[in-house]
Amino acid sequence: MMDRRKSIKSLVLGGVAGGLALHGCKTQIEAEQEDKVLATYKYGRTAEETELIQELEEDQFLNEHEMETISVLCALILPANESFGSATDAGAPDFIEFMMKDYPPFQVTMRGGLMWLDHKSNTEYGTEFKVTAEAQQKEILDAIAFYDPKVPMDEQALEIQFFSLIRNLTLTGYYTSKMGIEDLGYKGNMPNVWDGVPQEVLDQHGVAYEEEWLAKCVDQSERGVIAEWDENGNLLT
């Protein structure tokens, strides 16, 4: 089997013309596979960055059992509600797997914490965490899910650090997913015209715009008119 990583590297570095030439040497299936993988991340990556993502994705850090346990955990941390799916439904476990490789300092806490969970579950209930009844899973979590905010996290017990880590990654994985952003209700990341805080929001928070300040601000109906000034810097248009 050819080394896919190497061929992708040369495909990317070879540029457009080189890429076409290289395609000729490959089977149709190989070429399609590469196109598919490369097409997954079209957010302005350089060749080196794309290659790194490829390498991280080809590698698998968490084993099948660990991934299944994480899927159970993510859905306990952020379960589905009437409107939205769980963090597991939103793809948080795959994101966690990626971060283990992208930021290796997470690895021991994550893997050790998962082992801790199974040990605890086996000791208390005689089964691995992922197949233990939900009520009992929650009993285990209730003991490790809360932390003392006055104590630095790296001085707290391992199981508390572990749960804090997986909760953080689960939530960030969820709220940076399409589903999570819709759930949150974030309204931006699209072209628009900013014209101030809505009145009802100002009222709710007990603040107001001052007329004097607003008078200095852009008149959005004139934003398309080319700016001109007098010699003292007063805007004329």
Binding site: K187, W194, E222, A227, G233
Partner: protein
Amino acid sequence: MQIKESAQVYDVIIVGSGAGGGMATKILADAGLNVAVVEAGPYFDPKDPDQMTQLKWPWESPRRGANTVRDFGDFDMAYGGWNIEGQPYTHKDGTKFDWFRSQMLGGRTNHWGRISLRFGPKDFKHKDVDGLGDNWPIGYEDVKPYYDKLDKEIGVFGTNEGLPNDPDGFFLPPPKPRLHELFYIKGARKTGVPVYPSRMSMLTKKINKDRGVCFYCGQCARACSVYADFSSGSCLIFPAQKNGGQVDLYVNCMVREVNTNEEGRATGVSYINKEDRKEYALNAKVVVLAASACSSARILLNSKSKQHANGLGNSSNMVGKYLHDSTGASRAGFIPGLMNRKLYNEDGVGGMHVYSPWWLDNKDLDFPRGYHIEIWGGIGMPNYGFGFNPNDFNKFFGLPTGGYGNGLRADVKKYYGSVLGFGGRGEAIAREDNYCEIDPTTVDEFGIPVLRFRYKWSDYERKQARHMQSTFEELIHNMGGEVLGDSPGPNQDYGLMAPGRIIHEVGTTRMGDDPSRSVVNKYQQLHDSDNVFIMDAGPFVSQADKNCTWTIMALAWRASEYLVDQLKQQNIT
């Protein structure tokens, strides 16, 4: 290895394509000169769909925007960072200096904060005020005409407030404040800190037919695809080309040194082409270095010859000396009044809509020079890190922190947008014993000797940071908020960030009238070689409590006009 030499002789070679190099390119090419721009990184156009990160969603990144690869996150538009593989730098005497480099067409202008503050009259002559450092050989009146032209050509929003050391200009109208900024205005007034609309180079209004108007996505750090923010490529280099200028771009070309002849005058540069890893020579009548303060100093120090045994332009031994960055400290607060927000699109421009310039008189203080306050907060787009410790603020209400389950969704929404933070950016005193030099023991992967830094803060800067901290704490209290984290004490330098971290490094080739105490004259021309100019932040004598970009460009414009004039008069041949 044979060095490949091109027969062509350019009028000017410009090394670097950031703020200074871009401005030099525009002015010199518009004047009809035949220009080569040599850039260490690849070609970059903010509207190229293959390079663009603007308007991408966090889930398009497998790391959801985390900063494991790009230092300011996966969507930030800087190719490079604090550390570049194969291009190390070292330190001396156990000191610390973090050096940020971005190697791409446009350099760091593609991701910068666009905070565009003129230096004021006092900033050029601050030794007259407090006896510290040195005065510039030029004053505000010398630079003002260029600031004026810059405002009109490049565009900057702001307001004329008649402040003595934060001069008026030709401003586009600013955007309205966001909700957290209204809270800041209230809290700052209570604290006695004045607040004004910020001054940033995004187009809130059209300035010409080639550039778009801001559409308020808040992502200027990703570089704007409609060219509504200032980036050097989109606003200077492309227009120079479009205007019919003779501009040859040499990208992925790392300049090693300036070549000189028997008379000690520059003949061009030698560079390594990163693609074939071979060395080339390029010839020109004039060389403009605009590779960044430290990179230009490095090139000069590596340009050793019989005539310039100490490095080009370094007969004074001043190259690399007086390196200084802005001071920086930050703090954040939780503002209960900003909880439970209704959501709407509040992205605005990339960065703050309001700011506070330095407002105090140092006569009453235990440190020299000032700082301005930058403000962040709001209901921005979630990115890696969003949702971490989702209900940590429960501690302020005596509620449990942590947990799991659907209650976390409510917690996340309750606290979304309730944090506000400050960055203080101030002026350090330039010192001869803070410097960069060549490390004789280390080369980069291109065989070029690298820089070694030696930099220590003094009590001037530490006391300034202490003042920032107490001001920020008071501001947060006056907004009805809770300060986050403990107050950093003397053993943490009061939160003063390591030098280099603010990425305003200047001063390595400072200007002056005395050739024994400075590297360039007041037109940024080497005292030691009349056909070499420095047009980045190296010539700064002092860095004010402002940001350096607007002044880099105003000075580069001024120096470029002088250069054109000198060529016309045949004073440079």
